[in-house]
Amino acid sequence: MKSYDTTIARRGADLAGKKVKTSRRRMSRQTRENIFGYLFISPWIIGFLGLTLGPLLFSLFASFTDYNITSRMNFIGLDNFKRMFTIDDLFKTSLWNTLYYVLFSVPLTTAGAIFLSVLLNQKVRGMKFFRTLYYLPAILSGVAVYFLWMQLLSPSTGLVNTFLAWVGIEGPAWLFDPEWTKPALLLMKMWSVGGGMLLYLASLQGVSASLYEAADLDGAGVMQKFFYITLPMISPIIFFDVLTSTIGSFQIFQEAYVMTENGSGGPGNSLLFYNLHMWNNAFEVFDMGYASAMAWLLFIVVMILTIINMKLGKKWVHYEGGDNK
């Protein structure tokens, strides 16, 4: 209201032949609003430039040097990248461990979350209670949960092996046996599928009942309805979930850092994940240049996989009312 008043007042002043600052007149209302817009988001812009883009570009530069934070920063070209493939055997180990984890954790957690959400989408009494119950583990997170699981997975006194013993199975040593460390982490990962479940539950609620009614009329069975209606209808959410959890799984670090002795990567390096190896290089031996190179390689790998995912997604993701673009 005020600015409108002032505009009128200024016009009045113009008409009266009084001098008005020319710059003000040239700046249209649109430009002024733009300036204000930028000013309001400037904390974010400054933060992004200074705290994200800046370090990002710096680490790209550092990946071609022998940077060690305090004394060295000599340009060494592609030596860091060469070192990964020719000298550093732990690089291969860590990459393999990470790929193994991604390959199993993404399908397992996705399938688990869909399965749970379909179950919890039934119209049964007390469903709210079960929904809460299954979502709870997703709220708990972080180091406390890892410690809990270390207890649960303890070979002789842990709950998991005690339970297995009841049904006559002799449980493995989990985190102490290199063959079982990764399955142990996958088991732990399954405990927190509640987050994904919630997303699927929301999308399931959005599937139109009329589709199922029509299918009923055509005599479709439960499985047919699931595969021909439910899955296609929630496929955008599946796509989103697969994409984000693939990226997330590549970044696995905390679990291995907390659950292995001194963050070493476990017995026989079976839990030495890519990010853990990178962290060791950066903060244990201060080889920041090499760690930066590792970070950028991971970025490239994840980006390629995401592009492949996007391309493949077009074939199976069904957007309601959209033209699949």
Partner: protein, 431 residues
């Protein structure tokens, strides 16, 4: 429009103040109102037991003179070193910091700490145990001052010894005796072990220590040469494998999974009869062991006359590169590592200190079991080695350990694994 202008101005002012903050603070913090130089001291001793002890030492120092005021900042374990590194890089580090003893040379090489040679004379080093002083030297110059250390000893359960018909005053002296005693101390119920006599990889000791001990005290890397794949080290690894085969994978794993909490330490709980640990492990026996009847001895030698080797670690006080008041910082470090402060620290913490005079004075003052174990640990320092990280092979342990793991898991033979380990470390060498 007016409101907008005020907003812009205040935003600019805010950013200005934020940017100015850090610089101004450090300028202010250099001197107190009465003109004392403020020395910023970082340690990770923040626990209920340790914090009052270090702060008392600081207070004593501050009261002892009127030129310097030491200000203590506690930073959590782990964080302290990354933060130090960042502050060195930013050119605004603390004046004194407690750091790891085994990586002094690495930090010196990377220009992260100050050369102390101009602040101390030749005789200064005589106060400290020589094996500790060696670790602070880089290219013939000291880059830190040793503060505390530790050493590994064999703790054994005297009651269990009596029960098994062994002389409780005669602990095993060689590896052969260790095996013989351990077998006698085992108690089995069918396939299950109720008590394990001994297992060489439990407690505060690893495969590397046994391999060093077999090899006449020679570590993996000595004077720039690699001694990873030696016949004696292969033999030691095979010996370790033998222990695992004796007990069985399951027993080892299930015992290991129970370790960790103080109340259930398997030695204190009587589930393991002999146990290697550092001297301060005694305080756990004292606090949780309810009058446990135990003895301490040096870790058994490979064979008669080959020497009782033990390894140790510890911490140093150093001046980060670019500290504002190195001279004043050094005065405080001298006090911190001097006999008075070191004795106080040792008495209160039951910790092995780097200052010889202080350590010996503490032995005289303690009584009973306190004295018995402390004296043994001080005596053991003479045969204790430190394995500082070689500048040319900063990450060597991570390359060797997986191969040792693989041998102990029965996946490879010692010869093959150690040959591969040596090759991996060779590849790692920095020019």
């Amino acid at each position: 429009m007016k409101k907008g202008l005020i907003f812009i101005i205040s935003a600019i002012l805010l950013i200005g103040t934020l940017a100015g903050c850090s610089g101004e603070e450090s300028v202010q913090a250099e001197k107190t109102k009465d003109g004392k130089v403020i020395v910023d001291f970082w340690s990770f001793w923040g626990s209920e037991t340790r914090r009052p002890i270090i702060e008392k030492i600081i207070e004593d120092f501050n009261n002892s003179q009127d030129e310097i005021l030491v200000k203590h900042t506690y930073l959590p374990w782990g964080d302290i070193w990354t933060k130090n590194l960042a502050s060195v890089a930013a050119g605004n580090p603390a004046d004194v910091i407690i750091n790891d003893i085994n990586s002094v040379a690495q930090r010196a090489e990377n220009a992260q700490s100050e050369d102390l040679s101009k602040y101390i004379d030749e005789s200064f080093k005589d106060q400290f145990y020589p094996h500790l002083w060696e670790t602070v030297m880089y290219e013939d110059k000291p880059y830190a001052v040793p503060f505390n250390t530790d050493t590994r000893l064999l703790f054994y359960n005297k009651d269990a010894f009596k029960e098994a018909g062994l002389d409780p005053e005669k602990p095993p002296a060689t590896w052969a005796e260790l095996e013989e005693y351990a077998a006698k101390l085992d108690i089995k119920d069918g396939d299950r072990y109720e008590r394990v006599g001994f297992y060489p990889l439990w407690g505060s000791i690893g495969a590397a220590s046994w391999m060093t001990s077999a090899d006449g005290g020679k570590g993996f890397i000595q004077d720039g040469e690699l001694y990873i794949n030696t016949p004696k080290k292969q033999e030691a690894l095979q010996w370790l494998l033998g222990w695992k085969e004796r007990l069985g994978e399951k027993t080892v794993q299930s015992f290991e999974a129970e370790f960790g909490s103080e109340q259930s330490n398997p030695f204190i709980a009587g589930k393991v009869a002999m146990w290697v640990d550092i001297g301060t492990f005694y305080t756990q026996i004292r606090d949780y062991g309810e009058n446990m009847n135990f003895g301490v001895a040096p870790i058994p030698a490979y064979e008669k006359g080959s020497g009782n080797w033990s390894d140790g670690g510890g911490f140093v006080a150093e001046i980060p590169k670019g500290a504002k008041h190195p001279e004043e910082a050094m005065k405080f470090i001298k006090y911190l590592t001097g006999p008075e402060a070191q004795k106080y620290w040792a008495m209160k913490n039951y910790d092995n200190v780097a200052n010889k005079e202080a350590a010996e004075a503490v032995v005289k003052e303690l009584k009973g079991d306190d004295k018995y174990v402390y004296e043994a640990s001080v005596k053991n320092l003479d045969q204790t080695q430190l394995f500082p990280v070689p500048v040319k092979y900063p990450d060597y342990q991570n390359r060797i350990n997986p191969h040792i793991d693989n041998v102990l898991l029965g996946k490879t033979k010692p010869e093959k694994a150690l040959a591969k380990a040596e090759k991996d470390v060779e590849k790692l060498k920095r020019k």
